[in-house]
Subunit: 434 residues, 2 copies
Amino acid sequence: MVEDKVSALKETPAATDTTARIMDWIGNAAKEAAARLAQADGETKNRALRAAAQAVRDSSAAILDANERDMQAAEAKGLVRAMLDRLALTPERIEAIARGLEEVAALPDPVGRVLAEWERPNGLKIARQSVPLGVIGIIYESRPNVTADAGGLCLKAGNAAILRGGSESFHSSTAIVACLQAGLKEAGLPETAVQAMPGTDRELVGAMLRANAYIDVIVPRGGRSLIERVMNESRVPVMAHLDGICHVYVDGAADPKKARRIALNAKMRRPGVCGAMETLLIDAQAMAAMLPSMLDDLITEGCEVRGDPAVCGLDPRVVPATEADWSTEYLDAILSVKVVNGVEGAIRHINMYGSHHTDSIVTEDAATAERFLAAVDSAIVLHNASTQFADGGEFGMGAEIGISTGKLHARGPVGAEQLTSYKYIVRGDGQIRP
Amino acid sequence: MVEDKVSALKETPAATDTTARIMDWIGNAAKEAAARLAQADGETKNRALRAAAQAVRDSSAAILDANERDMQAAEAKGLVRAMLDRLALTPERIEAIARGLEEVAALPDPVGRVLAEWERPNGLKIARQSVPLGVIGIIYESRPNVTADAGGLCLKAGNAAILRGGSESFHSSTAIVACLQAGLKEAGLPETAVQAMPGTDRELVGAMLRANAYIDVIVPRGGRSLIERVMNESRVPVMAHLDGICHVYVDGAADPKKARRIALNAKMRRPGVCGAMETLLIDAQAMAAMLPSMLDDLITEGCEVRGDPAVCGLDPRVVPATEADWSTEYLDAILSVKVVNGVEGAIRHINMYGSHHTDSIVTEDAATAERFLAAVDSAIVLHNASTQFADGGEFGMGAEIGISTGKLHARGPVGAEQLTSYKYIVRGDGQIRP
C-alpha cells in the first residue's frame, strides 16, 4: 500500500520534493505501526518473529535468486573479495538467518519491565517501566543478514524499523524484508512495522537523517566513512560504533601463561573484529621475562608487530612504530606494542590514545586490577580475559544490533533491552500539588 | 590558570579562531577535571558541594553586588518584568541556592551503583556499573540559580560542567561559579570541574555546540527558540525539554469531586510551569454532569477557556477554540477544552496533539485507567493526580536539571542518576574466546 504510493511518486519530476514525500509516507506509516506494536504483547511479537523465520526458510530459493542478482552486479562493478564474501548468501547462511530470528523470539521480553518503583509520602505510587523507543532507522552496508538481525531485534523490542541497506545488497535485502513482513502479517501486526527505503538513491539516506519528526534514533552500521557521514549530518539522535582501538595491558604481576594466551587470542582469533586488540602495552618490569615469547607467538602466526625502541630491541622482526600507530585501528594482523611504567602508565596511555571501547589487564594482583578497571574509561574493561569477548552474544544478551561507543543511552553491546526507553506511571487517589 | 590563558587569547585579532582556541582550552581542562572527578569518592564530592554552599553564604554581599550590576543593565535594556523577576537575587534566594547545594550533597551517590551482574557459563563475571557521563555543557537563559543547581548536580554525578548562562545574568553567574570553584578547591578537586564560558558572545554558544571532542552532552534550558537553535545546530548529543502540552482526561466513570480538584490544580496552581494542563478532555458521557462546575471554577479563578462547540454551548463565557489551540502550549491562564468519546478518543487526541510530556486520567474504573496509562505515549502518565506533579522534586529524585521530552537516555525528570552512563566490568581467570 505504501509501496504503491511510493512507486506512483517516483515518476513525478521534482526529485528532492519526491524524496521528502516518500519519507513522509514511510515515516507516518512507521509511527502508526510503532503505536500498534507498543501495545502488542510479547507472545504476538514472538509469533511474528517465528513466522518470519519460517518465511525465510520457505523463501530460500527466492532469496538466493535475489542474492545472485546482487552478486553479479557486484562482480561486474569489481567489488573486492572481502565485500563479495560479506554479500554472498548460501543455504547455510539463510538457515542461520532463520535461526537468528528464532533466537531473538526466545529472548525475554524487554518491554514492560518495572525498572524501579516507590511510593511518595503523599501516597502517589510511581513506577518506571520500560517501553519501546518508537521508530528506529538502520543504515548499513552490504551484509544482507543485517536486514533480518536488525529488523528482528527492533520488532522484539516493540519498535518499528526503517531499513536502508547498501545498494549492493538491495535485492537480497528486499527479499528478506518481504519475509519479515510476511511474519508480521501472520501475527496480525502491521507489515509497515518493518519497511525498507524504496531504492538505492543516496538522497534517501539524507532524508532519513533529517526525519526527526518520524525517527527516534538512527543506528548506522558499516565503515568509518558511513558512520562519520551519519554522525555529522543527522538531525536524528545517533547510536553508533566509531572506533575499536582496544588494548591489552600485561602487568608486572601477570601470570606469563595467561598473558601469552590472552595476547595471542585478543589479536589473532579474528583480527578484523572491533574487539580485536590493536595495541599491546607491557609493564617495563615484565618486558624482558614475558615479551619475547609473546612476540614470537604473534609473529609466527603471521602478525606484523610495530614496536617502540625497547620492543624493537627484543626481536629483529619488529618494525619501528610511529606516533600514528598508537591511535590506529588496523582491523588486520598488525599490532603496535609499547612499554609502559606499571598500571598508571597503561591507564594514561589508554585514556589518551584509546577509543573507550574495550581494554583488558592481565595481572594476578587484585588491587592493580581494580585500579585499572575503575580508571580506564571504556565501555568494557576486563581482567584476565581476551578483548575478543566484546560481543552481545558473549555477554549473554542474545543478538546485538551493534556496539555503541557513545556514552548516552546505551554503551557497549546494544541488544533488545537497549532498544527500549521508559515511562513513569503514577497512580494516585485524587492528589493535587500544594 | 585557564582564565589567564583565555584573557590573553581574547586580545588576539582573529575572533573565530580565538573562539575555537578558547573552546579547546576549556574543553581540555574539563576533560582532565572529569577524569579526576570520575575517580573521586562520594564523600569528597559532597564535601565540595557543602563547601560551595558555605562559600555562597559567605559571598552573599558580593553575589548581590554582581546581581545589582546585571539588574541595572537589564532595566536599561528594558527587559520585561517577568524576566527581571527571574534575574533578581535576594538574600532569601541566595540562601535557597546554598540550601539547594546541601540538598544535592545529601542525595545518594549515583556513581558506582551495580545496575546488573551475572556470570557466564565460561566463568566470566560481568557487572554493569554506573559511571559519570563525562563533560556536560549547560546553555541557559537568565536565571542565575541555574548556575548553582546545574553545576552542583553535575558535580554530584562526577561530571565536569561547562556553563553558558544568559548574557543578562553574566555577573551574577560568574560570582556563583566562583563559589562552586571555591568548594571544589577546598575538597581538593580541580576547580576546572565547573567552568563558565568567558563572556557573552553568541559565538561561544556555537563553539560549545561544535565541541563534540570535549562535551558528551548538551543540556539547554530556556525558551523554545534557544532549545530549537541548540537542537538544530548541535553536533553534541542534546538532552532537552521541548514542549509541555499536558492533558487531563475526565472519564465518564470519574469521581466528580476529584475531577474538579485535579482540573483546577493542574491548570491554575502555576499556569506557567511545563507540567501545567493545557487541554482538558472530557468524556461525552460526563460532560453535562461534571463540566459546568469545572468551567465555573476555572473561569472564576481567572482562566480563559477556549472550547469546542459543545463546550461553548455550556457556558457563555467560553470562547470558541481553533484547530491551533489543540497544539498550543499557553504557559498561561488559558485552557482549551474538548469533548471526546471515552478513553479511546482521549488516547487518540493526546497521542496526536500532545507533546509526550505529562498526561493524566481521572476515573474510578481501574481497567479504563490501565488502558490510558499503557496507551498514552508520554514520559509521565498519571491516574487520579494532577499533572503539576511532573517535577523531579515531587518524584523524590531530589534536584533536577530539567525534564527531558526525548526518549533516548533519560525521559522525564533528569536528576543526578540520569547524569550517569555505565561501563561493563568483566572479571576472568585467563579466559580466551574460542
